[in-house]
Symmetry: C2
DNA sequence: CTGAAAACTGCATGCTCTGCAAAATTTCAC
DNA sequence: GTGAAATTTTGCAGAGCATGCAGTTTTCAG
């Protein structure tokens, strides 16, 4: 907040945000990011096409900028938590804390979710970012627990946890049912803690 | 084998396989798929560049052709199994059965794994195919159990199972330790069945 | 053998993304 | 303020990807 961010850096951040916002707006307006070109985005944000590509390698990356920021913050938080918590708890609490202050615009998240869902290129981009998240998180966990990044167990734990966050969030987004996102995430984690072999209800 | 496949279809299949193989060979030879062009692949397989793009939308898809075939077969198997097994068991057994006949060239899998690991574009492509697999599997499960594709529980189960397959396979590939891949997969599933909160060894 | 269906090919096109070097802008020291 | 240095923006050129289209060649069935 009160950080001594120079004017230069603030302008850069503003430009980046503007480009991301322009991408989002155009993608919605034109019914899919496939119908939007880098030229249009740049024009909409008032910079040259070349500058757009200085900030983002692709329009998909521009659209998912916020998502990327969120996961980065989650990683920072996780780095702290693993010092004092078991991995599983650390991830769960980090994810919950991330969404506790309701600074997120649900309707916007829904729009983004739909855009992603309907575009193969966006699914790929997001999945790719997820894998990067996974890879970095594995490093953090290995560091904190003194295990190797190649060990099976931490990878299983992390993978399940990330799937849980993503799945639960999507499910909640489709139908909030009155509860909050943190509550939904907590429930998802609880399901996995219980062991997933047996369904909770049906006897199939 | 003795299927009444017309000559035409066999030639098509051969061309597709040749293109995929050429992609793999060139990617290894040139140290990354980023250093290979569609032109080179087509030339290596003896067809025009345009024809290459008739078979595959991208070189990444060409390289992952086998992977795609394998997951398709897994889905077919899963479709049968969910009729008589709980979802979790069905996925586990399908994955295990898939790899039981050791028709897979481990060294080749390792090479492919490394190629993927080092290329963002391949990570994205594979992740995208994984999401497609997930989406289709969800449909199968929902059909078989009479649940909705939007329900949380089957999504969590499926997600965890797929992560388990992928993670375990990668881990095993890095270090087989004498046991077979089916054994490794079974172990991964067993870990998750136990519930993942508590590590098996360390008391962290 | 022949006509119909399917596959292969070249060409043109539009878009993506990167490198490079010149021009414009911001920062900083004085 | 002013000028030099650092940084950012920009245009241009170029390689490559991916798709539509139309003509040619190959394959298949009867």
């Amino acid at each position: 907040m009160t950080a001594p961010t120079g004017l230069r850096e603030r302008k850069k951040a503003a430009t980046k945000a503007a480009l991301s916002a322009a991408t989002f707006r155009l993608a919605i307006a034109k019914n899919g990011i496939g119908n939007v070109t880098a030229d249009e985005i740049a024009a909409d944000a008032g910079v040259s096409t070349r500058t757009f590509h200085n900030y983002f390698p692709s329009k998909e990356a521009a659209l998912l900028y916020d998502f990327n920021e969120t996961t980065s913050a989650l990683l920072d938080d996780l780095r702290d938590r693993v010092k004092s918590q078991p991995v599983w708890d650390a991830i769960r609490d980090a994810a919950i804390a991330m969404h506790f202050d309701e600074k997120f615009d649900i309707e916007m998240m829904r729009c983004r979710e739909q855009l992603i869902h309907e575009s193969p290129s966006l699914i790929k981009e997001q999945s790719g970012q997820f894998m990067a998240l996974f890879k970095e998180a594995i490093g953090i966990v290995a560091d904190a627990t003194g295990t190797s990044v190649d060990d099976l167990y931490p990878r299983l734990v992390l993978g399940s946890a990330l799937v849980c966050i993503k799945t639960t969030t999507e499910h909640w987004l489709a139908d909030p049912e009155g509860r909050s996102l943190p509550e939904a995430i907590a429930e998802g984690f609880a399901v996995l803690e219980r062991g997933i072999t047996r369904p909770p209800v049906q006897g199939n």
